[in-house]
Symmetry: C2
Subunit: 763 residues, 2 copies
């Protein structure tokens, strides 16, 4: 590719970016789009926006950039949780290291490469981009030590920055742990693999075991049921409720929508929902007490066990309970809003098979994906394209800009479209794996997408770009450095266009929320559905973290070899910094949090990138027959790996478990201040299996009730709040022992009531 082609591509993308950013700055001011661009704010901060028509609304502005840059880390932590801070730190790290790398490589190495071998330079715009890579440096060049020194500086500074970030995030994680609000998950252990006995009920077995072996700290427990009889009744009730909800949306609730964004059910009689709510509570209570349900008891496979102190829960989760490691498997429970209920009842014995199966599935997907990628790679090599599609030859020869477009832009776009399908598939795999929490599922999907991206964007492009149909790369690891050394500088051009299309344009479309905007439009004006006040997406870490890390990988591997990519990359990271901060603050809502567990993934990827860069450089120095530079690279690889090992020893354990000292200190403090009783009392209603937040939006019913305040703290879900009502204690005597038949009867009567009401209103 020539420089002019690159400039064409860059021009298109810069144009698109400016267009999108301007559009965004206008669209965000339109009240109609407020749900799309300020989902989190509306849900959590009760922001009200005025709907006055003023000209200012249609003028592009940069105020949002200033706002995004001004907000501090504490604000992000408060608004979007620790994971958002980690993501922000990944961007900060990238900006820092690539600023240095760009400075070093563009001014130090780029001239060296340019004036390397072929001194007869043509006019710069029609110069091939390969002339800026290390490929242009002569064999046995005496300037290769500059590349080696640059590699040392970049690796060293990257390690120092990584360590600082790692320590910072570990400290934040500890602070998160010891934060003021007591998390119910700290006191709770999720026990799986409860052995079945013929005599006793599951609940009794759990009670007996923990009373016997953890008597001093055991509080009580709550059995998790397989989605069975009760769930069916619940689903029936929900369907009836939804029908009614839709109906009121259409007929009654027209006036009070749009600007207040507060309630959607004003005017409708709320009695029936109050009843439903109580009913659902009753169901849960039945599940907890289960004095008469024999059927469900057979299907119990897990239980939440609550302990008096955090330390006791930690201990119970860390030790091996019995001599059969498949029984009584205890792990610290996820936060209530993080629990992935439909996986909880999975038998623990299945999990290892599921894990292996999804692993195999992901690997198969990784390799099946090669087919479209190889095809796309063919597109970027114009002569091959002309061979395979002869009718194109005429067009391509005539119109010069068409050629530029096809080589510079099209490959990345097609690849991009294919890549959009990957994260949902990986998410599905992660669901099948059987994680107990949503955050774990997302993190697992993130890892899968990362491996997938690195393999299919980086390796396959590098290796099949030069030697098409060479899928036997893995079979000769010894030759890999040399092959990579040959291929990476050649593929740098493709990576630059990839940064332009996937990076820059991807960020603009992320900012624009194109999908959200279109969906919102269709819902509102085509399908004429009511606004879904409930659905506010959470941040897609599983797509964004791999994306940013992949760009880091591209940056590191190309830095010394083909430094022309670095300015483009730096622009991407700066833009990403602004855009993602804005999105985290305004658009996405944080319902669950891994507590910074994305950082070890980022750390490992950066280390991998560094080592890969060093290995490739080793190969390049070998090809250039520079034994000194190659010899100096080997200790650098060893040092980098040692640094990684040190971090694994020094900081990684903090991301795997919690330190006992801090937990004990917190327990003591709670005990002294007398807060512990309140915490214990709240544990009773912390986890409720059946009133699922997403399916039955209970807080709406509260809004209808009018007087209860809407939750303003970010960490607490609405479903939980309804459960936490202290009046509805589990030990309520009158609700015990209701049989299934009566529940079913109650639901039937509600459904009947709803039908009656609907008919009465529509007639």
């Amino acid at each position: 590719m020539k420089i002019s082609a690159l400039l064409t591509s860059a021009g298109i993308n810069i144009g698109l970016c400016v267009l999108f950013l301007s559009l965004y700055s206008v669209l965000r001011k339109q009240p109609a789009n407020v749900r799309v661009y300020f989902g989190r704010r509306i849900a959590e901060e009760n922001t009200r926006l005025r709907g006055a028509f003023i000209l200012e609304r249609f003028v592009p502005s940069t105020g949002w950039i200033v706002k995004a840059l001004q907000c501090t880390e504490e604000e992000i932590l408060a608004a979007a949780g620790l994971d958002a801070v980690v993501f922000n730190r990944i961007l900060v790290f990238s900006i820092r290291i690539f600023s240095l790398a760009a400075l070093l490589c563009v001014f130090g190495i780029l001239p060296l490469n340019y004036f390397g071998q072929y001194m007869h330079h043509v006019h710069i715009p029609s110069e091939s981009l390969d002339i800026f890579t290390i490929g242009n440096v002569g064999v046995k060049s005496r300037w290769l030590w500059v590349h080696c020194v640059a590699l040392y500086i970049i690796s060293g500074v990257a390690c120092i920055l990584l360590y600082i970030e790692y320590r910072h995030i570990a400290r934040l994680r500890l602070l998160h742990l010891t934060s003021a609000t007591p998390h119910p998950s700290h006191f709770t252990v999720l026990v799986r693999g409860i052995p079945k006995t013929a005599k006793e009920s599951c609940s009794d077995v759990v009670d007996d075991f923990f009373t016997k072996y953890h008597s001093s700290s055991y509080l009580f427990h709550q059995v998790v049921y397989k989605v069975g009889k009760i769930q069916k009744i619940m689903t029936g009730a929900k369907k009836a409720y939804k029908k009614f909800k839709h109906f009121t949306d259409e007929t009654v609730d027209q006036g009070c929508r749009s600007l207040t964004y507060r309630c959607c059910l004003c005017g409708a009689s709320s009695n029936s929902f109050k009843l439903l709510n109580t009913e659902c509570e009753q169901n849960r209570r039945k599940a907890d007490n289960e004095s008469s349900l024999k059927l469900d008891d057979e299907e119990c496979t897990a239980a939440f066990v609550f302990f008096k102190t955090r330390y006791a829960a930690l201990v119970a989760s860390e030790i091996l309970q019995t001599s059969n490691p498949m029984n009584w498997v205890a792990n610290l429970a996820p936060e209530p809003e993080d629990v992935y209920w439909s996986n909880l009842w999975l038998p623990h014995k299945q999990l290892w098979i599921r894990r292996i199966a999804t692993l195999i599935g992901s690997i198969v997907l990784m390799f099946l994906f090669l087919i479209p990628v190889t095809f796309i790679q063919g597109l970027s090599q114009l002569d091959q394209l002309q061979q395979s599609l002869p009718f194109l030859r005429g067009i391509l020869k005539k119109k010069y800009y068409m050629t530029q477009l096809v080589t510079g832009y099209l490959p990345s776009v097609v690849l991009q479209i294919f890549l959009y399908a990957v994260p949902p598939i990986m998410m599905l795999f992660s669901t099948l794996e059987g994680p107990t929490s949503r955050s774990e599922r997302k993190r697992s999907a993130c890892c899968k997408v990362l491996y997938f991206t690195v393999w299919n964007i980086f390796f396959v492009n590098v290796l099949s770009g030069t030697v098409i149909s060479q899928l036997t790369v893995l079979s000769s690891p010894k030759n890999l450095p040399v092959q990579l050394a040959r291929a990476v500088p050649l593929q740098a051009t493709f990576f630059i266009t990839y940064v332009l299309t996937s990076g820059w344009a991807g960020l603009s479309s992320e900012l624009m929320q194109l999908f959200g905007l279109i969906w919102h439009f269709i819902r509102k004006y085509v399908l004429r559905m009511k606004e879904d006040t409930e659905f506010i997406p959470s941040f897609p870490y599983h797509t964004e973290v791999p994306k940013v890390l992949l760009f880091g990988l591209l940056g590191f591997t190309c830095s010394v070899l083909a430094p022309l990519i670095l300015p483009f990359l730096l622009v991407y990271f700066f833009l990403g910094y602004v855009v993602y901060r804005n999105q985290l603050l305004n658009v996405y809502r944080t319902r669950y949090d891994t507590g910074g567990l994305y950082w070890p993934i980022a750390h490992n990827t950066v280390i991998f990138s560094l080592v890969l860069t060093q290995v490739i450089c080793l190969g390049v120095f070998g090809l250039k027959e520079s034994p000194i530079a190659a010899g100096f690279t080997i200790p650098l690889i060893i040092l980098t790996l040692l640094f990684n090992q040190y971090c694994r020893n020094r900081l990684l354990p903090l991301f795997r478990t919690s330190p006992a000292q801090d937990l004990i200190d917190m327990d003591r403090e709670d005990e002294l201040s007398g807060r512990i009783d309140e915490i214990h009392r709240r544990l009773h209603s912390a986890y409720c299996q059946f009133p699922d937040t997403e399916d039955v939006p209970l807080e709406k019913i509260k809004i209808v009730g009018g007087d209860e305040e809407q939750g303003s703290s970010s960490g607490e879900s609405t479903g939980k709040e309804s459960c936490e009502d202290p009046k509805r204690d589990l030990s309520h005597p009158t609700l015990k022992g209701l049989p299934v038949s009566r529940l079913r009867h109650a639901v039937r009567s509600i459904t009947f009531l709803i039908r009656l009401q609907k008919r009465g209103l529509s007639e």
Copy 2:
């Protein structure tokens, strides 16, 4: 190699074996050798052997074989510990699986191979051995399904047997844990990485931390000191003691040696030693109380912390103590006699570097070892030998049996000699790694020797035997199955001779204890030294476990491809079963035990062997162009790996930690029976750093004292007994606060006393 050459080799080895076994059965009856052949019995069972001269003593007999076969597993467990049982089970497993494999392959596959391709057979003795391998089966043979079925049967039965053994050993491990005698190690945690403070002494820091965070279960602690000032004083005292001991050996103690084997100091005044003993106790007490020693305090890096219950110690060892994972690293302590004191003071921060350094060292050794092995491999290929050493050509051409000897026997012997140097080097590496217990050190050395053996005996021979100087094997893993498939059948001959020399002859020399016998002879008649009653070797698991597992690997890989090896291997395992049982019962003494941790190593190696066999068979079926057989092998590989994963989930955790349930039950039982106070009292003297068993044999002094009984239980070391004297409590008030100067003075006066006594006696 021809069959006749194999028979020559087999003949020599059978002759040697019979000779050695007969010699052993005679030598073992000689009273002079009783220390060599019955070390354990004398040390632990107080057996006394009559020294009468009878003719029976010089007639070879087989009684010992019967005795070795008759003893039950319980007897081995009682006599030689759980590790011996594990080793025994490895042999039993090998006998079982290879009996089946031999039956199946010799009668099913051998004829198929023999009548495979070339039907024009010459006279059997001059037939090449290659004709019995799968190499003789034609391409696209319709009989390859027999090989595939045999592979299925062997893999399936091996997995079933493995699982049975694994479960059995896990059960034994639990029984070992819950055995009647309370182990002090169960109540003790070894804490490393104690943070240094300027204000407080190390002991106070430990006390403060555990009183604060483990107040309910913390008992007391004992600081471990770096070998420094006190140790120097101790060494001086020991030297003086040894001088005197040697002197008394020579002059006084001549009459009461030989047959009673009880004491070596009768007649000498024992007052001075009593004094020394007390002195040593004082030193220890000083170390514990350290009220005035400021110097040593700086060097404290570890401490034994004692807990009230086993469960509390387990909990303390499993959890992360503080937010710095490098500080307060707690692990369950090893048994007192298992502690490797000189590694305890190593700073915990160093350990990970040490581990990496020794790993690199071992890998370097593995690859440097290639040089002699390649040379030896050249020896077995006669034409190459003649090329490199032309003067041999004349000799080798003339004498036919010389050729047979060189090809059939010499390579293995030379290899054998080189291999003798490896275990001590690996043991040194394992020591440098910094393990805290002797058993851990041996286990680590066992792993290293195993990797080394498998690489250097199996892979290098297989791969460099066919393609000499091909060290780039690792660089093409895809071609590995095919290469192995070509090479393994060809190298089967070498492996058969290896079984004969290293296996059979090795067992006989193990039984004979050639080194022990010669050393004993030299000590007694050449150097005229006193018999060393103390030195009874412990079983060299780090050399014998890898040896047996290597033969298993050879058996599995050759079973289907070259079944002629199986009968020889079976003889080896049978012989090994008898010999090792005999040695475990009579010769070696068990001072420390890993508690069955050798089994996971064995399990993993067998799984590796099975998968390797399957991969090689896959390659062979590929070479023979049998897609059906190859296709059926792939699910077998997957099933074997799944089985391994199941075992890792189901049984391996029991080998990593102890189940809380059993520990709590034991704690309760002790509490109810009131035994717990006695246990706590004994903990005070369980671990003593300075009176080292090997250097100062304190029990001798007790024997001099006369009335104290000699320890008969196998698990208790002598050093520990002297420490356990309840009168010598740590809280003895008069011994507190003795300054270093006074200690030094005391030692000087003892040394002076000894000199005086020596002079008086010699004059």
